[in-house]
């Protein structure tokens, strides 16, 4: 196991800047998830850690060693790919043994390691099957098995669950998390799915356009997003945002709707700003803001209601079951203590 340090790393393809100066410190044994929309550079960054992409400038360290010019095979890492990248002509046991055979490991050791990995992942029955005879979930487990037998310093996962169906994804999520808790190997995991990031990570790195928007624990990002991008990206359904300006003790939307604030950041007074509130922090309340119901989506455990406020659709997530219909007018109220304010120009969080 080892810590990974990424210091001012940049990557350009021709004139395109894919990674524009990224700094991330990953502690020994930590589970870190790189998350962001497509094209944000997260996979490129992972491949740079793996050594599959060169580093234009900056420095990547694994343990105490700068690995910029170390070939992938000497970095002591194992990677799980989105398409599993299994060797189609080898059975499960041979797939897992391949790296050890290349290292000329003794036969008995190869067997011990394969059996150990197969037991951990529940693959014992499948060792002589070929990849094409396995389901997606099983293939993904083999890919992980191949990583485990190497006993590497760092595990790298590149969107490993993207090719699985929704139900399997949920169970594999738990399996990977459990695996990390048992093995305690430093893990860097890339995904575009913020739910995966929230549920699995110890630390999340939110990336956008080749830069890091925010690094922090899942709930820290959820409760205190550093900027509008993180606020909207993390959380599902995503945060409601309204444009307007801050006045003493209240926020006035562009359409003149007045929303109460608990505290007024002095620096923001009178300035254009963005008001953000999470759907579950909105409640039905007689003294709230009235709005027309556009959509009602009951899921059983909760009801998602889209209300038009100030000409904009606002999503509310209600725990209780409510007898409302499309076209009704209801009043919703945000808990002022749970409201977020952002600078309208920079998107940065306005702190109090």
């Amino acid at each position: 196991m080892a810590a990974v340090q990424i210091a001012d790393v940049r990557k350009t393809f021709g004139t395109t800047h894919v990674i524009r100066g990224v700094d991330v410190d990953i502690e020994d044994g930590e589970f870190v998830i790189l998350v962001g929309p497509s094209g944000c550079g997260k996979s490129t960054l992972l491949r740079m850690i793996a050594g599959l992409e060169s580093i234009t400038s900056g420095e990547i360290r694994i343990g105490n060693r700068v690995v910029n010019d170390v070939p992938p095979k000497d970095r002591d890492i194992a990677m799980v790919f989105q398409n599993y990248a299994l060797y189609p002509h080898m059975n499960v046991a041979d797939n897992m043994a391949f790296s050890l055979k290349l290292k000329n490991a003794p036969k008995s050791e190869i067997e011990t390691r394969i059996n150990r990995a197969a037991t951990i992942l529940g693959l014992t029955e499948l060792l002589d099957r070929y990849p094409r005879q396995l389901s997606g979930g099983q293939r993904q487990r083999v890919a992980m098995g191949r990583a485990i037998v190497r006993d590497p310093q760092v595990f790298l996962f590149d969107e490993p669950l993207s090719n699985l169906d929704a139900k399997l994804r949920v169970s594999m999520r738990a399996e990977i998390k459990d695996l990390h808790q048992r093995l305690k190997t430093t893990t860097v995991y890339v995904t575009h799915d913020q739910i995966e990031a929230m549920t699995m990570a110890e630390k999340i790195v939110v990336m956008h356009d080749g830069i890091v928007e925010q690094i922090g624990a899942p709930l820290e990002l959820y409760d205190h997003p550093a900027n509008l991008f993180v606020a909207c990206f993390i959380g599902s359904p995503s945060m409601n945002v309204l444009k307007g300006r801050v006045e003493l003790g209240e926020f006035i939307t562009a359409g003149g709707v007045r929303l109460p604030l608990e505290k007024t950041p002095p620096s923001a007074l009178g300035k254009p700003a963005v008001y953000g509130v999470r759907p579950e922090h909105l409640k039905l309340s007689a003294d709230g803001v009235p709005g027309k119901v556009l959509v009602i989506e009951p899921t059983g455990s909760e009801t998602q209601v889209v209300v038009e406020v100030d000409g904009q659709p606002i999503t509310c997530l209600l725990r209780e079951r409510v007898a409302i219909q499309r076209g009704d007018t209801i009043s919703v109220r945000a808990d002022p203590a749970l409201v977020h304010l952002f600078d309208a120009e920079t998107g940065k969080r306005l702190t109090d």
Binding site: A50, Y87, P88, H89, L102, Y130, P131, R132
Partner: protein
């Protein structure tokens, strides 16, 4: 796949859609396959049955046709010229499969890299495949010429004495294989290149992380994954080489003596020079069985290596 539509001959009104049994054919469908049956019957099945019929008959020019049973086949067993030609066919085939396969794979690996100007080079490389056999035979006959040919001149440049090429019994088969190889290496190259292009990239990245060197990647990943393609190339080459006639006939007519007489050429002589059609047919039947047997073996091997057919 179910392409049948409910036909009016049913007469019943079904509550739900009925699934006709897979492969079932209703009488109303017959007219549509009759043209195909006629063509297949006329150009494939009939000649075959007729050949079989001829092979159990004495059928020579000037002699009245008469049934002889398996006499023609018995004659084959003691016909030294037939047995020799069989051996020659097999060695000629083996060489003209192995050489293009090896060189074609090598060429495919080279053309699969980011070689500068590879589009043009590839185009030049596949040109021999497009030439007509008689033209090829003419050009190579000139090149093989012991005194005037360019091949002996080239050998002289590296200090090797003149060879007799197709004009000597010992070197005629390898020389003909050289022509065959020159013409058909591009085909193997194209097949293997197609195979290489279809290989997924991820296993290679995975292998880089697993610590494989360039040679190990070829040995343990590329090679096993292109085996299905190599088998296809082998199959095509084997059938082609077994049947090879035009180039051999145009360059040597089976000579010197009978040193390059393969089954095909012997068959030709028997049937069209000696006009012993019955005996010639027996040779054709045995030859056909040989081709079918080899093809079945290759198809079997191809199916054994069907890992690329799965969606793994």
């Amino acid at each position: 796949m179910n392409t049948a539509v409910p036909s009016s001959s049913d007469g019943k009104k079904d509550a739900g859609p009925r699934q006709p049994k897979k492969g079932s054919l209703r009488p109303s469908h017959w007219p549509f396959i009759i043209p195909a049956l006629v063509v297949v019957g006329g150009v494939i099945v009939f000649p075959w049955i007729f050949t079989l019929w001829m092979s159990v008959n004495g059928w020579q020019i000037g002699v009245e046709q008469h049934f002889v049973g398996l006499t023609n086949y018995q004659r084959l067993l003691t016909d030294a010229r037939f047995i020799d030609s069989m051996g020659r066919t097999l060695s000629y085939t083996a060489l003209s499969v192995i050489a293009p396969l090896f060189l074609g794979t090598l060429a495919a690996l080279i053309f699969n890299t980011k070689l500068p100007g590879r589009g043009i080079l590839r185009g030049i490389f596949v040109m021999p495949m497009m030439a007509t056999p008689v033209a090829i035979a003419l050009v190579w006959t000139m090149m093989f010429h012991p005194q005037l040919g360019i091949l002996n001149y080239l050998l002289s440049l590296v200090g090797i004495g003149p060879q007799e090429w197709v004009f000597h019994p010992a070197t005629v088969i390898p020389s003909l294989v050289l022509v065959e190889t020159w013409q058909w290496t591009p085909l193997v190259m194209l097949i293997v290149l197609g195979g290489l292009a279809s290989l997924p990239a991820e296993p290679y990245e995975s292998a880089s992380l697993d610590g494989a060197s360039g040679w190990q990647k070829f040995r343990f990943i590329t090679f096993p994954m292109i085996i299905p393609f190599l088998l296809i190339a082998t199959m095509i080459r084997t059938i082609d080489a077994l049947k090879s006639f035009d180039i051999i006939y145009a360059i040597t007519q089976g000579g010197p003596g009978t040193a390059s007489e393969t089954i095909n050429l012997y068959l030709y002589s028997v049937a069209f020079t000696y006009y012993d059609v019955g005996y010639g047919s027996a040779i054709a039947v045995v030859f056909f069985i040989l081709i079918i047997a080899l093809s079945l073996l290759l198809i079997y091997l191809r199916q054994r290596t069907s890992w690329l057919l799965g969606d793994a």
